[in-house]
Amino acid sequence: MTHTDQPVRQPRPLVPVMLALLGALMTWGLAWGAAQAPQVGQPAPPFAIADTAGKTWNLADLKGKTVILEWTNDGCPYVRKHYGGGNMQALQREATAAGKVWLTVISSAPGNQGHVTAAAADQLTAERKAAPSAVLLDPTGTMGRAYGAKTTPHLFVIDPAGTLVYMGAIDDRPSSDPADLPGARNYVRAALADLAAGRPLADAVTRPYGCSVKY
């Protein structure tokens, strides 16, 4: 056998080097790619989460409808301000009567204030004569974190195209005092009116006020 046609096994060092380089670049890139906070004017973060009856609500299924998300914690004095005076319930009725979807979200972790079982949540809804389309249970805080929900109450409005159009407080009186309810500008009611009239929202982002969400 002559050595010219002897098959020579030769190393191919460049391919692994390049793959390693690419791999390193990608890892580096992924490590930097942090989760982004939701932004008004951008698609609302998706969710698929069960309500107190075990039914799963998926944002994708709600295309074509205006969706209002309300973070709550029944032990929080700021939530009590709006439920005690019937303010929140009235807004829920207005919205659902107009064909909008109102989802109340509880993101309190087990053992923390505001964490309730499905039955207790239903009981709270009945006691408070609340009228949401559903109460979503988010004990892991996944949905809360996706939306950057920080306070109770914290409200979000999503338009029929699935775009986040409002995030922030329920009104412009950041206190726990029910005496501040009359005369307050309700940002959510204003946002829904602007949306219905096809106007740009006067206030699209406001400072949410209340207790922290008990993740």
């Binding site: 391919v15 890139g29 930097w32 790619g33 805080g141 974190r145 726990s176 982002v205 207790c211 969400v213």
Partner: protein, 727 residues
Amino acid sequence: MHLFRPRAPGGAVLCSVLRDALRSGCSLAAWAMAWPALLLAPLLAWGNPVSTENVTAHLLAEHNPTVPGQPLELLLSLTIRPGWHTYWRNPGDSGEAPRIDWTLPPGVSAGALQFPAPALIRVGPLANFGYSGRALHPVRLSIPADWPLGEPIPVRAQAHWLVCEEHCVPESAVLELTLNTAAAAGPSDPQAQEAFAQARAGLPVGTLAGATLTPTPGGLRLSLPRAGLGEAPTAVRFFPWSWGLIEPAADQPWRLAADRLELDLTPGETAGTADPGGLLTLTGADGAVRSFEVDATRVLPAQTPPRITAPSAPALGLPLALGLAFLGGLILNLMPCVFPVLAIKALSLAGQGGLSARQRGAHGLAYTAGVLVFFAALTAVLLAVRAGGTAIGWGFQLQYPPFVAIMAYVFLVLGLSLAGAVTLGGRLMGLAGGQVGGGSAGAFGTGALAALVAAPCTAPFMGAALGYALTLAWPLALAILLALGLGLAAPFLALSLTPGLARRLPRPGAWMEHLKQLLAFPMFATAAWLLWVLSVQTGPAGLALVLAGMLAASFGLWARERTAMAGRSWRRVGEGAALAGLAAALWLGFATAGSPTPQQSAAPAAPQAGLAAQPYTPARLTQARTQGRPVFVNMTAAWCITCLVNERVALRATSVAAAFRAADLLYLKGDWTGRDPQIGDYLAGFGRTGVPLYVYYPAGGEPRVLPQILTPASVLAALGSAVGAPR
């Protein structure tokens, strides 16, 4: 100072409401009306101090008796139950700052409640700004000079605060204080004295002027003059006055530069509009915390991008953008780094007479897939890094010296292989050795390799366009880059799918070997160019490392080549030498990362025919702007061919230099050959992720962006039209 009641749980509250109603002479009806208030604020209490469920509130006066006409300091002291906290003026993610409703005699007035430096209180993923232990809020009381001496001043302060542990309780108390008046101020008791001293220690020691807040891609940078900050801190935190400027819970990486302290902040919901000021706290080596009010001004970017995009980057329709990207990809095939690879690959098809049309087609498709997967991966990395807030653009790879070094090795080795000095094995042989090796997998690898070797060439010629693409929404950016990849793959794909085309290729022969050897020279040229870029980035030290690496790699590959036909043990030695050589080369290549930092001045400046440029710094720009001097900013990089051509053709033209001199213009040049956050920020301010960028600032006028391809006429026109524009 009288003390009504030390504690005020339920029953005591009822008593005090009752007493208050009786004292104010209210009817029973009025008392009944007070009931809802009682239910809503169950912890309202009267006295001084007053203890609620979680807080003991106390209103202290610095001097009693006090002198009319002289301001008097009062102090609201909240002693908080362990584990609970109250809030700063901006409470952070949730909560509410304390406030006071005053009832004062006519003429007497109280100033705003002051807030000492807060602490960061983390609550799960959220954060609050507030106080634990004891919160001390000074407040200034003004007493008219004509207040009758000896007449006491009744002070009634209804304080409201929110106090939280895991859950929150709104509490309030009415604090009453009677101030006596006299011609000379009385002494304050030692306990009050201590509280006042502690309160003052927590207040800001001064205001820092000259702070700037600059948007960076995905973040905000707060930069403060270091002078006045005192000793180097061990911890730094910025607390914004307003909600929405930053994410309260986010970390704030900081660093001390020669004359600045810089913090990287995570923008909040209203980062573009919120008050940019706040409070900066510095923890010293001894643990003591000092705070400064920060009066930050926003620096240019925020308002500039919308008006900039109009002249320089007309909004392309998606089909047009995709078409142009495809065309760009086609042109890439002719680039010196890609053409040899492609030419050899194409000729190999002609040489493979035995391949069926189907096999040929499969090869073409696999090759295309290789190109596209590489481009998709690169795009994903770029977008992910950008989402993470790092300022990079297309061409960022070339800012990293080890990448440049390794690409130089790749081109050297490919050149050696084409020249016939070394034989590469397996699939690489398919690439360089004129065979379609390794089937579809080999073709896929070749595609990825073609895209990889194209990368250094795309940046210099198309960096700006691709950088623009990357600022679009990610599906658009991906579509544009994939169109570019498709363009790159198209000629070979067409060749492999069209048997007629393949048949027209010249017959293989000895000329192919000559062509192959000839094509080694564009490869060596690319390697030489990369070495020059590296020399700009790392100076002679880095260059020496990589040249040594090239020597090691070449020797290793030569040794293997020499022993390839020898006996087994010699072959082992040869292969060992090759591996050792390449390993040494890689190690030397990565060592360039530690070489001296990039030199701003070296880059493309060289002997200047035109106006001498000064290195760009934000300070130089601001200074010239405030002096009313026109400024021309040129952002460039050694690896940006477009930039070099523009300088040679337009900026160094005598007519342009004369116009610059006539206008007493400051010419600032930023060199982005290496990474420089200041330049990255500047580019981001104009919505760019890459160079070139030319901006002309007329004296006192709005900046205008020049096109990316310059001619002397276009520069003169920009200068001229700006001069004629109304001031």
